[in-house]
């Protein structure tokens, strides 16, 4: 009998022993396993240091697994119809055993995933591990970020409460400012002119099937390319990677780290979900908009821009420029060899700090000036607002950024790579500042208020 069991086990593991003991069979075990073979069989020991990767990529995979498990559980108790959805949510929270916990886990994992994916991207960027040969994998990562955003956005509507309804209404309305095709796309997504029953089934289908499938397809591709392109190796400024860098087998060195990290993260997630409930407001009422009607938190940066720019610029031109920048970034040839070095060099570190400080200070200053001092459309009443509140302020901002670039290159004698890094930090800090202002400092009628 035990012979037969052994025979079955061997057929599953393709003849490999279940607990390989020597390096060679450990490497073979990785190669012959469907899931594990997304890993390399051996990795450079410094590459898997926690303080280099912060485990962020793995954490994103973990979160998506948690999201699938909890998401499927939620599907069993939820009907995507305006007549039932909100009631399902109340049921979930009061009647179904552990319903609130599962919903909390799903909600917080989804939100955490946006943060984790962004942090992962920043880690790769700040350690300069995005250039040749990893440019394309950066693009795959970027599409995973967009898909994560889309998953969150479509999921946001499903509870069908006031918060959900108006966040999606405001979010999709941004599309109408895309010239020519925007209104058609918006109509297509909503399945009509407004958020209604059709929108709910649309979003449900996208949320539970289309987006997860794409996410897992591209995620596998992303992991496989990471293996193919090789892990970047951390090093100190002024050092080169020695030929004899220690290489260790994935089993057990990487796998055990991943397992421990995952367990710690699951513990944190469970604790958080047990203590903090996902929000649920009153049932959606299409006739009454709340005041203020805010979009989802990750869109608050753009909504804040909307208060300062013509919608075409706030919702389309500036985000598209940002996205194009992120696509082009890995293809700009670096003139500093900084792969594996945090912020390139000593000067790079100072300039990154400078950019961040300038970004925060400049954004706060500009928001205050626009709110209390300067009203361009009023100053230039003869011009259409697309000029006075669009092209003109954008041109000024781009001019300021160009000045900043010249300052870095001229006064600080920065390499292009260092100047790009500093500029990126400035724009990132600016976007984060806008998001924080939008979330915490905007009250009734979108007026500036103290969050306390």
């Amino acid at each position: 009998m035990s012979d037969f069991v052994q025979r079955v086990v061997e057929s599953i593991s393709r003849g490999e022993p279940l607990t390989p003991t020597d390096d060679r069979s450990r490497m073979r075990a990785v190669m012959n396993n469907l899931v594990l073979h997304l890993h390399p069989s051996k990795v450079a020991a410094p590459s898997i240091k926690l303080t280099y990767t912060w485990g962020l990529g793995g954490l994103a995979v973990l979160l998506s697994a948690v999201l699938v498990v909890t998401g499927v559980m939620l599907m069993f108790v939820y009907t995507p119809s305006p007549d039932t959805a909100y009631q399902n949510m109340q049921n979930l929270q009061t009647d179904i055993r552990f319903g609130q916990l599962i919903r909390n886990l799903h909600h917080w994992s989804g939100n955490a995933m946006i943060v984790v994916v962004v942090l992962h991207m920043l880690r790769v960027l700040f350690t300069n591990a995005l250039h040749r040969p990893r440019e394309f994998n950066w693009l795959l990562g970027l599409s995973l970020l967009l898909l994560t955003g889309a998953a969150n956005f479509t999921g946001y509507l499903l509870p069908w409460d006031q918060r959900a309804y108006w966040a999606i209404t405001v979010g999709v309305s941004l599309l109408q400012y895309v010239p020519v095709v925007g209104e058609g796309i918006g109509r297509f997504i909503l399945g009509g002119p407004e958020v209604d029953a059709t929108t709910l089934t649309n979003f449900y289908g996208l949320h539970v099937a289309v987006i997860p499938l794409m996410l897992f397809g591209i995620m596998s591709f992303h992991l496989w390319r990471t293996r193919k392109d090789g892990f970047s190796i951390p090093r100190r400024i002024g050092t080169v990677i020695s030929e004899k860098v220690e290489r260790v087998t994935t089993i057990p060195h990487l796998i055990s780290r991943e397992a421990v990290f995952a367990l710690v993260m699951i513990a944190i997630l469970l604790t958080w979900a047990a203590l903090v409930d996902a929000p649920l407001e009153e049932a959606a009422d299409p006739a009454h908009s709340p005041n203020p009607a805010k979009a989802a938190w990750y869109f608050m940066g753009i909504q804040e821009l909307l208060l300062h720019f013509h919608p075409f610029f706030a919702a389309i031109v500036i985000p598209v420029l940002g996205l194009v920048g992120l696509v082009v970034l890995p293809y700009l040839e670096p003139d500093v060899d900084g792969e594996g070095i945090w912020f390139l060099s000593v000067k790079g570190r100072w300039l990154a700090l400078l950019g961040t400080v300038m970004g925060v200070a400049g954004t706060v200053l500009l928001v205050l000036v626009d709110e209390y001092v300067l009203n361009l459309p009023e100053l230039l009443p003869s011009l259409p607002t697309i000029l006075s509140n669009g092209w003109i302020p954008l041109a000024w901002l781009l001019g300021l950024l160009w000045l900043y670039w010249e300052l870095l290159r001229g006064l600080f004698r920065a390499y292009r790579s260092e100047a790009r890094l500093s500029l990126f930090c400035l724009l990132l800090a600016s976007f984060i500042t806008l998001t924080v202002i939008g979330i915490a400092f905007r009250g009734e009628g979108m007026a500036l208020v103290s969050p306390l």
């Binding site: 108006w166 002119p193 909307l306 919608p311």
Partner: protein, 158 residues
Amino acid sequence: MKRRNFLKASWLGLLALAGGESAFIGLKFVSPHVDAGEFGGLFDVGAVDDFPSGSVTPFVNGRFYLVRLNDGGFLAVYRQCTHLGCSVPWNAEQQQFVCPCHGSAFERDGEVLNPPAPRPLDLFALTIKDGQIRVDTGKRIERDHADDRYVVYPEATA
């Protein structure tokens, strides 16, 4: 053309055709459509005399306000804010539409009193026949400025 190339081109053509058909079917399957009687269809809202001059009457199902201007003309004003799609309530005290989301304000005829709204409130096509008012919520009218072009007056009573 060689037979080999011809066959290759034919297969590629068929592949393109199959792809196109699938895309067309898929697109049509998920495209929105409107049934009569729902929002997006026709609404018979009542007789001209039911609405005094200067009145603003909400129609929740049709998602519009029936506005009778002081000069007796009618407009069907879509309740959706032209800024970011919030529902705009009529504020009877201030005699204007005020959007709760971002503070846009509109005149009775939909004209913008206060930005950020980029254009006046949209209208729905409105017709009056035999003293009965009919609003077509499938025909939305966007305006750059609220002029009297779209105001509908009841036919003179004999």
